[in-house]
């Protein structure tokens, strides 16, 4: 493959309920970033139904992304896709489409780690160079920073993600979709701190017991929903804050980046800002359409990987629904 100065990558994101197709240039210009969300009629995400949604919407989203980017398929230089971690059926749908496109257009394929892509688009959008990152969403909760060739995980959830905890609670309380923002709105009217389990184990977190306790209090009917939402947020975010602060003190990074779907929460943002200030670090935030799952982050990370020589063979481009970000070498980080 000849070396080209200017590259255009089409990235496919399909780890959970979002189908995202992004088109990004090697200069870091976002040409398109289309997202289609699968909203379940009842309950949480059903993996098979979400995958079917992605499959049936794919053609339409792809066309729209190309139209917005004002390019033809011949101008795409490479295809990247979310290879994991995520829901198996959803990942497989995105991977199948990516392989088909790469083979049809006869261009290279790059499998991208979803968590790393969140950090990379966060760096691109916020201008952070070498941040400690708190990545909080419905599927992931982790604190990571680059050290010696990889993104190391300094703390993570031992069970469910913080976004999952908030969403599930919201559903139990009969709040409208999306759950996290609904909890935030109601929490703003609460002020009484109810007793809920605060679970930090070393550098790791646990939210499942907190969720159970909050749901039991809800069913008990002895407290105001406003106070319960308020307390749930206060406890969950204080747990995140503690581990983030400790990781910041330990790594001595000068930037603190907040990303993921839960990063939209104002209370969490203000906590992160306070922690950063306390440690003389700059707090960095990502525009929300690049903080939630999106295709642009996969496209951009695909470019970074491609430029440092990484390729994914179509024959072995299996998805890995439990793919940890700290298993992945990130050679592009040692280039700058």
């Amino acid at each position: 493959m000849e070396k080209k100065e200017h590259l255009i990558c089409l990235g496919i994101e399909s780890t959970a309920d979002n189908l995202g197709i992004g088109i990004v240039s090697s200069e870091g210009k976002i040409l398109a970033n289309e997202v289609e969300v699968h909203i379940p009629k009842t309950g949480g995400i059903h993996p098979r139904e979400a995958a079917q949604h992605h499959a049936s919407e794919f053609g339409r989203v792809l066309e729209k992304a190309l139209r917005i980017a004002k390019i033809g398929s011949k101008e795409i230089d490479l295809i990247s896709f979310s290879q994991g971690p995520g829901l198996g059926p959803c990942l497989r749908t995105g991977a199948t489409a990516a392989r088909a496109l790469a083979v049809y257009l006869n261009i290279p394929l790059i499998g991208v780690n979803h968590c790393i892509a969140h950090v990379e688009i966060g760096r691109l959008m916020s201008g952070a160079k070498d941040p400690l990152t708190l990545y909080v969403s419905g599927g992931n909760t982790l604190i990571t920073a680059y050290e010696a060739g990889r993104y190391r995980i300094f703390g993570e959830t031992l069970d469910i993600a913080v976004g999952n905890c908030l969403d599930t609670f919201a559903r139990e309380a009969g709040l409208p979709y999306p759950g996290g923002p609904a909890v935030e709105t109601i929490a703003a009217k609460g002020n009484l701190l109810l007793s809920l389990p605060y679970i930090v184990k070393g550098m790791d977190l646990s939210f499942s017991g907190l969720l159970t306790a909050a749901v039991l209090k809800l069913r008990g009917g002895q407290c105001r929903l406003e106070d319960l939402c308020f307390s749930l947020q206060e406890v969950a975010f204080a747990m995140l804050g503690e581990v983030t602060e400790r990781a910041l003190a330990h790594t001595k990074k000068h930037e603190l980046l907040l990303t993921g779907g839960v990063a939209a929460n104002k209370r969490l943002r203000s906590m992160i800002q306070l922690i950063a200030e306390e440690h003389g670090a700059a707090s960095k935030f990502v525009p929300q359409k690049f903080a939630t799952d999106n295709g642009a982050m996969i496209a951009w990370t695909g470019i970074l990987a491609y430029v440092s020589g990484l390729r994914t063979d179509v024959e072995t481009s299996y998805i890995d629904s439990n793919w940890r970000m700290d298993e992945v070498e990130v050679p592009w980080r040692s280039l700058n």
Partner: protein
């Protein structure tokens, strides 16, 4: 010298040295208020942890591991007043004593770590900066991250921290010192030791705990 001197500022607590606290030479550990946390939650956490730390220090003593004497605990202020140990950090002396002496110290550290683990205590920050040698006694200090657990995973992390610290700070003697530590640890843990060493090796391979090589000596 000032009567009260701030000697360390950690992520969680400030440490003061008071040479005349009711006539005693003491160390005052105060968990500081975290502005990002809800005030009531912050107060609950700090007072709970203060009590918890004091209890674990006491429990360590009962297991046969020297820890500083506690003179007073003030839960509502998140303060522990304890005996000031007038010795030297093991980290600072270890490279300057004779070979046999050095191994003897590490065997002793191994025995004391074994005693902690045997009685269900995980130290959580087992480095030579958190051990103070006063004459023949080695005091274990800073139980701020300690917890009660008998899981091999937690024990393994304790040993991993110890080994990582050896590699970074005392690399000239790493192998023989770890061997001495291992001997001491096994003499207390007996049949339980093997699983913990196995876990430690597994943790090393995970890479999650891999960090910059030259800043491994730990505390700040």
């Amino acid at each position: 010298m000032e009567k009260l001197e701030l000697i360390a500022k950690g992520a969680e607590a400030d440490i003061w040295h008071d040479i005349d606290w009711n006539g005693k030479d003491v160390l005052i550990k105060k968990r500081v208020r975290k502005l990002y946390r809800h005030e009531e939650l912050d107060n609950q956490l700090r007072s709970y942890r203060t009590i918890h730390e004091a209890l674990i220090m006491h429990r360590a003593k009962c297991a046969g591991v020297p820890t500083p004497l506690i003179y007073q605990v003030i839960p509502e202020e998140a303060v522990i007043v304890m005996e000031y140990i007038n010795g030297e950090k093991v980290r600072d002396v270890i490279n300057f004593v004779g070979n046999e002496k050095r191994k003897e110290i590490f065997r002793k550290i191994g025995i004391q770590t074994g005693r902690l683990h045997k009685s269900g205590i995980i130290h959580g920050d087992l480095t030579t900066s958190n051990m103070i040698k006063e004459k023949a006694i080695i005091f274990f200090i800073d139980f701020g991250l300690a917890e009660l657990s008998s899981e091999d995973e937690k024990r393994g992390v304790d040993l991993h921290l110890m080994r990582r610290m050896l590699v970074s700070t005392h690399y000239m003697f790493e192998e023989e010192l770890f061997k001495a530590f291992e001997d001491g640890y096994r003499s207390i843990m007996g049949g339980e030791a093997e699983a913990v060493f196995k876990k430690m090796k597994e943790i090393e391979k995970r890479g999650r705990y891999v960090e910059r090589e030259n800043t491994l000596d730990g505390d700040s």
